[in-house]
Amino acid sequence: MKAEHVATVDEPLREALLVEPSALSPTRRVLGEMLRSRELSVGLALLVVVAAATLRHHTFLLSSDSWRDLLLTPSILVVLAVGQGVVIITRNVDLSVGSTLALTAYLTGRLFVDNPGLPVIGVFVIGLLVGAALGLVNGVLVAFGKVPALVITLGTMYIFRGVVLTWAGSNRINASDMPKGFLDLGTRQVLTIPVLTIIALVVLGAVGYYLHTARGGRELYAIGSDPSAAELYGLPVRRRLLAAFMLSGSLAGLAGVLYAARYGTVSSGAGSGIELQAVAAVVIGGVAIFGGSGTVWGAALGAYLLLTINRALPILNIPDFWQQAVVGALIIAAIVLDRVLSVRRERLVIEARDAS
């Protein structure tokens, strides 16, 4: 596969097919990769949706409340999508995050009811720890039981939800049960940016940085890319899987605390169905459903796109049914696009090699 054969291949793929070192400088290559990245196209789609909705009704963006909503609404989903993204990168999935969220959200309310003097930081710590413990259950069953994560987390999804249902019954936590300082977190802004959004961005930044720059992060990609090769390489596969599920669980726990702060009322049905939204956000954001590639940046953008579309479509006068269908179409389009691109690329590679 030498340069002259690759010359027949169309321009954007040329770089990707090149075996020999590229003549371009590393900076220009990074730039080129960014221009072709899924993150950029999802970001652009997000801008288009916001622009279209704003043109229709300028209040969609241009009022202080709607600016806040634009940033605030997807924040909790971003936190979940980051955890889900890490798990999907390892070629697994975590469907229990919605139930974990409900459990920690209700727990947060109960903690304030039973210990009125509890500092706000306390519920965050407890929420994270409980979430991590629930994630550990998933992780142990997947990593040591060798049972597909889809089955395990589907099971724990029902079990955790059952715990909340039994515990809460028909009770609900109301805003009056929780201290004002805590509830303020759900609405407060710093330099027009909601606190919840800042928390979500800090989580995103930390996890994104870890995945890109730490050994453990790269090993998560390796495990998802080829699990059996990861064993042959002698990577600590079990430990990494445990960590991934614990991260997903603790972020779901964090999301539960944020949920209580944001909405003020928590019932046993909190966050049901949100786990599928998280998976959808991750897939739309370009994380391969079979693991190994994609970024949490993309997953976060996917979460923003998903929920912003949901808010924009009513403004564009699109009926309810179509709102659901658009989200579905987006997911399918994302997966079909990935598939088409990879098949096309594989064919080109084979042709280029045969020609040599």
């Binding site: 720059t213 050994r215 790269r218 890319s225 390489y233 002698g234 190994g292």
Partner: protein
């Protein structure tokens, strides 16, 4: 073992490993000195790869001694074997397609810079240095996906070198390399030897073995046969040790009357897989498809049967063209296909024998869309009886049967369609020696009744014993068409490996 002067760095003695009832390695022995390149040779299935995987920590041995630097060791994982200084290049490159070339080289021990961040700059530089040493130009930043097997192999080699191992094991590293690349690899191997490291080299190509290695150990049927210094031996002695048994006795092929052509394949080509494959099979004839693992034999068979696509060429059965990519049409035309992995592709292991046997003819058995268990058993009975399938009842689950009986059930399933051509891929893989002969007798018997058989086998004695004609495949091309009289182990081996040198 040969020169006791230097203590061996790696020593195996009487190592055995079984998978269920099948012994992959009965008694493997090997003694490798530092500063030596040691060849390990043997036919397909002789146990070389199993031995390598035991040393690499992939498998745990059942029996025997494994010593590294004179110390007894027992590797429970690949990480332990790596930490002890053993690097392995596997036959099939095991890379992470989504990660960069550099990450593939250093995965598991990525270099860390300040603040425990991985230092990509240092790794790129190191990868470039490694590639320069190997004399290749591969972009260290590109993803591993889409690299040719040869380039992937280079990355495996770079990985092994960067690990600074004291024992480097290469399991057929040259199978996909070109002449220049092989020379480069040899230079690297000699360099490592001169540094005092031990290299174990597995290859089917004798010229490479004799050019590179100083000692040769031969395995046959999972057992140690002997070790010879390269200087004191010859190709014919090594081949003799490898083959080592009377071919004709083990595999009785009774002469059958060869009739009219049944299958004709013309110019079959699938880009990147096989090229311009042309052959015919006559009634009553067993044609063996021989070649090294990965040469494209199974792919050709799958394309003929219509499972895989092909780009050009024609398949005709009894003079009528068989449509591409349509296995059902192939079955109707009279083809039967027993795949290589019978557990996955040929048998519903959770279902009963009768159910399995009746699987392909179910449409014919059903009355108004309803299929009764009785109808299945009635249809399956005579076939199972004829093949002497040893199951107490047809209701018995297929999963609990031995490999040999499972294979018979798969064959019975296809015979129920009354085919005129049987394609059978690795008919005796995973079957114990006693039952092997039964499967062979069955195939021979079927040919005697006028069935045309295309048999793919990696076991040379099986091909030579059973086939009326041997087609040798090398890198997706048919490189030899030998009749029974001319099909010697040497001739087949030669055709399976030699065209590579011609192409260089």
């Amino acid at each position: 073992m040969v020169e006791a002067a230097v203590a061996p760095v790696l020593e195996l003695d009487g190592v055995a490993k079984s998978f269920g009832p099948v012994a992959a390695l009965r008694s493997g022995s090997l003694s490798v000195r530092p500063g030596s390149i040691h060849a390990l040779v043997g036919e397909n299935g002789a146990g070389k790869s199993t031995l390598v995987k035991i040393v690499a920590g992939v498998y745990r041995r059942d029996l025997g001694v494994l010593r590294l630097d004179g110390q007894d060791v027992d590797f429970g994982s690949t990480a332990e074997s790596k930490a002890a200084g053993i690097a392995v290049i596997y036959q099939e490159p095991t890379l992470f397609p989504d990660l960069s070339v550099t990450e593939n080289i250093f995965m598991g021990r990525l270099s860390l810079g300040r603040g425990r961040r991985i230092d990509r700059g240092a790794m790129y530089a190191e990868a470039e240095r490694l590639f320069k040493g190997l004399g290749v130009h591969i972009d260290p930043r590109r993803a591993a996906r889409g690299l040719s097997i040869a380039d992937q192999q280079i990355i495996e080699i770079a990985k092994a070198i960067s690990m600074d191992a004291k024992v480097l094991i290469m399991d057929e590293p040259t199978a996909a390399l070109s002449g220049v690349e092989v020379e480069r690899l040899f230079a690297v191997a000699r360099g490592l030897r001169d540094e005092g490291r031990a290299v174990v080299f597995i290859s089917h190509r004798f010229e490479e073995v004799f050019a590179l290695c100083d000692t040769i150990t031969v395995l046959r049927d999972g057992e140690y046969v002997g070790t010879r210094p390269t200087a004191d031996t010859s190709v014919s002695e090594i081949v003799g040790l490898m083959v080592g048994r009377q071919v004709g006795d083990l595999f009785p092929k009774t002469p059958a009357e060869i009739g009219a052509p049944v299958l004709q394949v013309e110019g079959l080509t699938s880009a990147g897989v096989f090229h311009d494959v042309t052959f015919e099979i006559r009634a009553g004839e067993i044609v063996g498809l021989a070649g090294l693992v990965g040469a494209g034999r199974s792919e050709i068979a799958r394309a003929v049967f219509g499972v895989d696509r092909y780009d050009s060429g024609t398949v005709t059965l009894h003079g009528k063209p068989v449509p591409a990519r349509d296995p059902r049409a192939a079955i109707r035309a009279g083809m039967a296909f027993v795949p290589e992995d019978r557990r996955k592709q040929g048998l519903v292991t959770d279902a009963s024998v009768a159910h399995n046997v009746a699987a392909v003819i179910r449409r014919g058995l059903s009355r108004g869309g309803v299929l009764t268990r009785g109808a299945e058993s009635r249809a399956a009975g005579p076939w199972a009886a004829r093949l002497e399938v040893k199951t107490s009842a047809l209701d018995m689950g297929a999963a609990t049967m031995s490999g040999g009986n499972q294979q018979k059930v798969v064959i019975a399933k296809w015979l129920a369609t009354e085919p005129s051509l049987l394609i059978i891929d690795e008919p005796t893989r995973g079957i114990d020696v006693g039952t092997k002969a039964e499967v062979h007798r069955l195939l021979s018997d079927l040919a005697g009744r006028g069935l045309a058989i295309l048999m793919i086998s990696s076991e040379l004695p099986e091909v030579l014993g059973m086939a009326d004609r041997v087609l040798v495949v090398c890198e997706g091309r048919i490189t030899a068409d030998l009749d029974r009289a001319h099909a010697t182990p040497e001739a087949v081996m030669h055709a399976a490996t030699n065209v590579l040198e011609a192409h260089r």
